[in-house]
Amino acid sequence: MAKEIKLMKGNEAIAEGAIRCGCDGYFGYPITPQSEILEYLTAENPYPKTGMVVLQAESETASINMVYGGAALGKRVMTTSSSPGISLMQEGLSYIAGAELPALVVNVVRGGPGLGTIQPSQADYFQTVKGGGHGDYRLITLAPASVQEMYDFVELGFDLAFKYRNPVMLLSDGVIGQVMEKVEVGEYKPRWTNEYIAKTYPWALVGKPESRGHNIITSLQLDPVVQEKVNHKLQAKYKVCEENEVRYETFQTEDAEILLVAYGSSARICQKVVQLGREAGIKVGLLRPITLWPFPKKPLLELSKQVKSILTVEMSAGQMIEDVKLAVECKVPVQHYGRFGGMIPTPTEIFEVLKTL
Amino acid sequence: MAFKGTIVIDTEGCKGCGVCVTGCPQKCIALGKKANKKGYNHLEIIADTCIGCANCAILCPDGVIEVYRAKV
C-alpha cells in the first residue's frame, strides 16, 4: 500500500497520531502555542468514526484529572498543554504516577517563568525530568525534533505508558508544534475493546465481577511501611525503564573532538552547526537525547573519553547541562549556550561559540 | 398481626455511638457498661420487647446490627 503523506503542523500531527493510533480520549484546555491540537481534534470529530472522546475541560487541572479517571479504566487517554498549563497539572501527574497509571501528556513548551511568552522554549526540562509534582516519581520523557516524531511519539508514548504503567511526557516546544513538515501517517488502528482491556490489564476499573475482589486505584498508603514498599516498587520499575528505554541519536560523532548535546528543536539547529563546523575543519558531532528521562548517560560517558569538550545547547538558562555533567563524571569540560525567554538561537551564533572551545 | 423481633449485635464492631438507641420505639436497647476490645461501651439488649422494626440497624453507621422478625 502506498505511503500516505500529509503536510502538517507539529500540533496537528499530535492530534492525527492520537486518532490513528486508537486513542480513547483526549481532555484539554486551550493555551498557545498548542491550541491547534484541540481545534484539530474537535474539527475531525473522531467520536462517530473511532469512538475517541474529545472534551474541552474547564481547566488544565480538570484535564489532567479527567486523564486520571480515564487512565484508571485502562483507557488510552491523553492531554496536551503548554508550560503554565503543565504547571497546573503537576498535582495530577504525581497522583497518576503514584497510582501507577498509564497516560500521555504533551507539553508544547513556551517561555517562562510565569505567564512568560508564547514563543518557544525548553525551560521546562527541570520540571519534567526532575519531578515537577511532589514525591519520588519519574516521567518517561520523549523529546521529538520533527513533525514526524510528533506523530510517531504519540503511539510510542502510549506503548511505553502501558508497558510501565507510568505517565509519559512528550516534551516538545513551540517550534516543533508550529512548524509544518511532511508526515508519513500510519493506518487507523482500532481502539481496544473493553473485553481486551479487562483481560490484558487486570488492574483496570471495568466494573467488579463476582470472580474477583474490587479494583482500587489509589496513590494513598497511610502506613509509612507500606508507602516505603510502594516507593521501592516504583524505583525498581524506573531502574528497568532506565536499562531498557534510553533512546538517542548521534550525528558525525565518530571522529568528533567537540560534542554538541541538544534535544528537540535545538538539536535541529545544532545539525546545521555541525555542518558549519565541519566546513570550517572543526571535528564536531552531535548527540541528541530522544528520551530525556531515562537520560542517555552511557553513550555520553563513552563519548566523553573521546572528545575534549562538550557544549550543550538549550533554549533555557542551562538545565539539561546538569544531567550531561553528571553523565560524563567530570571527565571533560561541559559548557552551555542558551537563548531563552522565547528566543531561538541561530546556527551562526552557536557556531561562533563553538569556535572559542 | 403482631411481630416479635430480635437483633444480633456485632459487639466488637460497635463503636458505642448510641444513635441507634434514639431510634428504638420499644426502648429495648441501650449502651451497656461492658467495653469491647476497642474500649467502646457497646450496644446491649435490655428488654424482650423488640418488634423487629429495624430502626436501630437503619441508623447504625457501622452496620453492626442484624435484625430478625417473626410473626407471632
Binding site: 480538570a62 486520571y68 | 444513635v19 440497624a57 441508623l59 453507621p61 457501622d62 422478625r69
Partner: protein, 256 residues
C-alpha cells in the same frame, strides 16, 4: 417465642449489604458517613448493579471510601472527583458512575470541577456529605461552616465580614441546566434514613436516563469536629444546620 426461634434465615429483615466490604470503617462513632456509605451500597445492591458501578472517592474524611465500597473505585485528588467521573462516564457510558465527596472537597477546592461537571450535564451521581467542617484534618472551617460556628480556624466563631458566608453549593448547582435531580437529605432518624435512601435510589435510577447530574446532599454531623457526643451532635444538626440547609428536593424532573 424464644430469641433462638426468631434468629432464623427466613426471619432476617436487615443485615449489612454485600456491597460494603468487611473492613471496619475508620469513621468516628456516630458519623453520618457510615450511614451514607451503607445507603449508597444498599442501593447498588438492590439495583443489582455492583458489577456495573464505578466509584470515585474524595480527599477528606471519606478518602478511604474505596476500602468500604465493594465496587471498582478510584481515589481522586482533592476536589477533582467530578473530573475523574466525567472521563469515566464518557469512556464507559453504560456504567453507573458516582462520586462521594465532602464539603471541603466539593465546595471549596473542587468548586470548579463541581460546577462544570454539573453544568455540562455529566450523567453521573454526586453524593455530597455536608457536615460544615473539615473533619479529617481536625475540624477546621469549611465553606459550609455556619455563621458563628466555632472551628479550629474560626476559634471565635465564623465571622461573616471576615470569612464570608456559608456556601449553599447545592442551591447553586440546582440552578444549572445540567443538573437533573438535586435533593438535600439527612440520616439521623429512621424516617430520614429511609427518605435519604429513596433519594439515592432515585439518583441512580435517573442516571440511566442520561439527562444530567443527579446530586444528593446529605446534611451530616461531625461530632468529633463539633466536639459533642454523637447524639448531641445530631440534635445540634437539627437545630442549627437544618434551618440554613433545609431538607427536601431542590430540583425534580418536570413531568413529561
Amino acid at each position: 417465642m424464644t430469641r433462638e426461634e426468631i434468629i432464623k434465615p427466613e426471619n432476617l429483615v436487615y443485615s449489612k449489604t454485600k456491597v460494603l466490604t468487611d473492613t471496619v470503617m475508620h469513621y468516628c462513632p456516630g458519623c453520618g458517613h457510615g450511614t451514607t456509605h451503607r445507603l449508597v451500597a444498599e442501593v447498588i445492591d438492590e439495583m443489582g448493579i455492583q458489577s456495573e458501578t464505578l466509584g470515585v472517592a474524595p480527599v477528606g474524611c471519606a478518602v478511604l471510601a474505596y476500602n468500604y465500597f465493594d465496587v471498582d473505585i478510584a481515589e481522586a485528588a482533592h476536589g477533582r472527583a467530578p473530573a475523574l467521573a466525567t472521563a469515566m462516564k464518557r469512556l464507559r457510558p453504560e456504567k453507573f458512575v458516582f462520586t462521594y465527596q465532602g464539603d471541603g472537597d466539593l465546595a471549596a477546592i473542587g468548586t470548579g470541577e463541581t460546577i462544570h461537571a454539573c453544568n455540562r450535564g455529566e450523567n453521573i451521581t454526586i453524593i455530597f456529605v455536608n457536615n460544615g467542617i473539615y473533619g479529617m484534618t481536625g475540624g477546621q472551617m469549611a465553606p459550609t461552616t455556619l455563621e458563628g460556628m466555632v472551628t479550629a480556624t474560626s476559634p471565635y466563631g465564623r465571622e461573616q465580614q471576615f470569612n464570608g458566608h456559608p456556601l449553599k453549593i447545592t442551591e447553586l448547582v440546582a440552578q444549572l441546566p445540567g443538573t437533573y435531580y438535586v435533593t438535600r437529605q439527612a440520616v439521623y432518624t429512621p424516617a430520614l434514613v429511609r427518605r435519604a435512601k429513596k433519594a439515592i435510589r432515585q439518583a441512580f435510577e435517573y442516571q440511566k436516563l442520561n439527562k444530567g447530574v443527579t446530586f444528593v446532599e446529605i446534611v451530616s454531623n461531625c461530632n468529633s469536629g463539633w466536639k459533642m457526643s454523637p447524639v448531641k451532635a445530631n440534635e445540634w444538626l437539627e437545630e442549627n444546620m437544618l434551618p440554613f440547609y433545609p431538607l427536601g428536593d431542590l430540583k425534580v424532573p418536570e413531568k413529561e
